[in-house]
Symmetry: C2
Subunit: 173 residues, 2 copies
Amino acid sequence: MAPSAAEALRAAGLRVTESRAAVYEALREHPHAAAETIHGIVAEGMPRTNVQSVYNALGDFADAGIVRRIEPAGKPMLFELRVGDNHHHLVCTVCGTVRDVDCAVGHAPCLEPVSTHGFAIASAEVTYWGVCPACAEPDAPRRTSDAPRRTVEAPPRTSPAPTHTSEREEGTP
Amino acid sequence: MAPSAAEALRAAGLRVTESRAAVYEALREHPHAAAETIHGIVAEGMPRTNVQSVYNALGDFADAGIVRRIEPAGKPMLFELRVGDNHHHLVCTVCGTVRDVDCAVGHAPCLEPVSTHGFAIASAEVTYWGVCPACAEPDAPRRTSDAPRRTVEAPPRTSPAPTHTSEREEGTP
DNA sequence: AAGTTATTTTGAATCACTCAAAAGAAGGCT
DNA sequence: AGCCTTCTTTTGAGTGATTCAAAATAACTT
């Protein structure tokens, strides 16, 4: 059983405030949420809260080591409570959904590069890109939750463009 | 014996312009460069070029499959010419220098997640974070490459950022 | 050489996040 | 309980990186 948000905060040496507790709770419900998303949730119950406070809280949490920041390419920062177990992420290239993937090794760095180039490696971050089950369905309900609003830019850009229609316009609705 | 920039562009089905060729060349000299960096280089010989053109060119290159975008957490987008071989990156948490690391497997996805959660995995992106040899030296000359200007946000939460976008440097081998 | 289409320029907007000062709470102390 | 100090939240801006769009210009085709 999870401790209360207040306990978790206090345990991390942080002052307990309603706002922080709300941010913490929101993160429990949305394990990979952007600051804006969290703000939206928190603001439902506390209309006077603003995004800055959320950023503050999240930053403090991160400094205190109770949240981890993740930044998938082309997406805004996401925050998660799961820390210290060096897990990785699966990101849907269509809707942006993120899922945790356990790390087989469990501690960082879990991988060794072929050549270190003399670097003192501290960690290996792995992001898997793919299409989630929901988006794979023909008539996908297209859920855009904690998702992307600029083009989902990602590694799967490796595909060459043999046909060069060179169109740069796509759709201006 | 790389083909000329013009040849490479034409082969990719892109119109050849002085500007694009310059961007392409700049990328050859700076294998992991930010748009601003490239603009700086290109502008030396073509003072009238502006950043937008560089972004346009890079975007077109990426669409055509001849450049790959990489976005290490907390840093601006970087571009590289090495495509199609699914390599990975080593990023210095201090100065931001990026180095390529060959992928042992060579094709994407080179890793399989422990659990796919039903995703159709297309690729696995690996970023190694560590301290480069130069920054590891006691009296490190502290080089700021194509580097970080907001706090170096990354798996290893390290030190504050340098002051200004000094210059390039990155891989003078 | 002219025409068509793509690209560059220009100028501006946006998003996501950060900074800083002032106002407001938390928690310790008496 | 009340006071005081310190930390948080609010307020109000500011910034960097990237994107958008219309007008001007240059490539390639014929």
